[in-house]
Symmetry: C2
Subunit: 206 residues, 2 copies
DNA sequence: GTCTATATTAAGATAGAC
DNA sequence: GTCTATCTTAATATAGAC
């Protein structure tokens, strides 16, 4: 579906197009995005877009595929040999950093899921689900050993996703609600979420 | 923008159109939704839609306006005179029930916010922000009195929004990840979130 | 109030010159 | 590789009959 770039200029233009596509798809979703807009943001003509990608959908699929590669890294890095509370707070911190540094990627993903994930069902069931089950088992093991307090591991992971991605996906709402405090939202969120995780998980409830 | 219904049949048809619009807008966002689709779901012709509403945007705005009326009720109901932990867990429970019972409304709202809230800026700053500030003050008062443990009240509210709405907005992902456990997701979520709130807020950290 | 028919614009995609 | 011009379809919206 996506041609392999062979020359330097091909690679550069494909990246320009993908970056523009990320802009537009993340803001409007697949059906709401238009090639005209992507072409304009990319600074290329519409037919030139379709020289590099066979269709609008190909751009979208390429973006989603590339995103999933890196999007799950923080969860993959959850180390069964590490200290449980430290591992889970580090996971939260990394997810929060991704919301801060890659908000468009978060919104691209959110749009696709909200709209029913029509182009992601297989990757969710084939890759995400096994990974989540594996890490949920690790967490359940820590709980069984009494190293962290018991709570449903799957819903713990969902809550971490929800709370951290919220800072990227619902940015417009945060801006309206926080007013002048908006600029400090990520620092405040890190403190809040670290406290939340500690109280939820630390054996003493500290 | 929205004509007032005068007869019974007018009211009925407008509600049919709004329900169909909720279906389509919540799944595709404003730009991704089409009048053709809304008309088909409503079982009416496209011109008939535009007899009741002057434009596609009028349907969307009507939906968002009506939604905001009821969407914030659970937060409004947070009672300063109540028992703090009970009030906040009740808030979580009501929000979770809304995700379960009105997932389309949640996704309509999420789509609009993710896409930058172009048609909701004023309602967010004029209505949501004062309400959140008011209730955050109530929560801060409880914390100052030592009735619940200290944590940033605004981010506490954001986390409650994120965790509860996640079960409506990211339903497609939950379905893929949970597999056969999917049907029990709301019961499990209620137990998990009640535990989370208790550990986060109860003075003893229970 | 509801429909068919249609005007008008915009969208995805292609042809073919350079 | 990149562009202008264009084909084709689909979208919002309107006209006007019934």
């Amino acid at each position: 579906m996506t041609p392999r770039p062979r020359t330097r200029i091909q690679r550069k233009n494909m990246n320009v197009i993908l970056d523009a596509g990320l802009d537009v798809f993340s803001q409007h979703g697949f059906r709401g995005a238009t090639l005209d807009q992507i072409a304009q943001v990319a600074g290329l003509s519409k037919p030139n877009l379709l020289y590099y990608f066979p269709s609008k959908e190909a751009i979208h699929v390429t973006l989603l595929t590339r995103l999933m590669d890196t999007w799950l890294d923080p969860l993959r890095d959850l180390d069964p040999e590490g200290e449980p509370v430290a591992e889970l707070t580090a996971y939260v911190r990394r997810k929060l950093e991704m919301s801060r540094d890659f908000p468009r990627e978060s919104r691209l993903f959110a749009n696709e899921i909200i709209q029913g994930a029509p182009r992601m069902q297989e990757v969710l069931t084939d890759h995400l689900r096994p990974l989540v089950d594996e890490k949920a088992s690790v967490i359940a093991g820590w709980m069984a050993e009494g190293r962290i307090r018991a709570a449903d591991p799957h819903h713990l992971i969902f809550s971490i996703w929800a709370m951290t991605q919220h800072y990227a996906d619902f940015d417009a709402q945060l801006c309206a609600v926080l007013g002048p405090r908006y600029d400090a939202r990520f620092e405040e969120a890190e403190v809040f979420l670290e406290t939340l995780m500690r109280r939820l998980l630390s054996p003493g409830g500290a």
